[in-house]
Symmetry: C2
Subunit: 188 residues, 2 copies
């Protein structure tokens, strides 16, 4: 017999994504979003869901583009900070000492110091309720050399991303591997 916990968004786990945009004056802004994920393979798409009250919301509506920069564990504090203040009143790059880099592919900036970035053009905007979902087509994924293995493939241990647990409001490391997909299920 399972216990009812109510209709809540307390599902583990979510990513910790830093969404980069330009405002009307061309000032770079970042905010941290946990309501995000991959939503299509062809075209390759991710989404972020944002409240209309965020500064980023209008930036994406106007520029039709955003980036997602993935912080490594080293930048957990900065990622949390990016979710605490608004670009309406704070220059979050200046506040944290991090560096905006203009994407060459989409009209949005990413965070230079974060090891992995995704550059997106808005494909669809879906009104859900308090949150609006921005579905972005991935134009490119870019990574620092230090997070690639010898075959130039992305190594998750080297990226060392953090994830978020909505039920405990805690950030976590990615833990040890426990199996290869499309493989261990064949043992059944």
């Amino acid at each position: 017999m399972k216990n009812s916990l109510g209709a809540k968004t307390i599902v583990p786990t979510t990513p910790v994504w830093v969404v980069g945009t330009y405002d009307r004056e061309g000032r770079p802004n970042v905010m941290t979003a946990a309501w995000g994920g991959i939503c299509c393979s062809q075209p390759p798409c991710i989404y972020v869901s944002l409240r209309k009250a965020t500064y980023t919301y209008n930036n994406i509506v106007e520029r039709k583009a955003f980036t997602v920069s993935i912080p490594s564990e080293t930048y957990t504090k900065e990622a949390d900070c990016f979710g605490l203040t608004s670009g309406k009143t704070v220059d979050k790059f200046a506040a944290t000492g991090l560096t905006p880099v203009k994407s060459g592919l989409v009209d949005a900036p990413y965070v230079k110091e974060f090891p992995l970035v995704i550059e997106c053009k808005v494909l669809k905007i879906v009104e859900i309720g308090l949150h609006t979902e921005f579905i972005g087509e991935i134009m490119d994924v870019k990574a620092d050399s230090v997070v690639l293995n010898e075959k130039k493939l992305l190594n998750i241990e080297k990226v060392n991303p953090i994830i978020w647990n909505p039920s405990g409001m805690t950030y976590h490391k990615v833990g040890k591997p426990v199996g290869q997909s499309v493989a261990i299920g064949k043992e059944i």
Copy 2:
């Protein structure tokens, strides 16, 4: 200077969600999805993105409901198995010895042995490309007593969910906590 990896869905990390549905004849089915996440706080919503070729796709279109059962690490093999075969030809519950339970709230079954389940009614269907996104309003979240703490709140260490890394096709444990959100960012 960052290295271009191409327009690929290789972003770490995704959840490992087992989507439960009934087919036209009322037979319970499950499939594992990694393209899923939380997408709205009010109403509380999650989504799963599925290819039209999946058996689950038609089940959700017809029943307008699905559940998500979260496997603990113990069930990594079963979760992988659920993504390898189709409900068109295989009774996945029988194949794995797991037990379908009819939800009392939505027209879909969940997996009894998994510690955490989310019951959803379809709110929106969004065509993206190869994948169709089913946005489901959360009707309830249910958990086994053994994954709750003394205050009856969900404990992620006890749930012991797995996550997936698309770039390496590996399942991972959730690692150690590295900070409290809406807290550690204030130190900056």
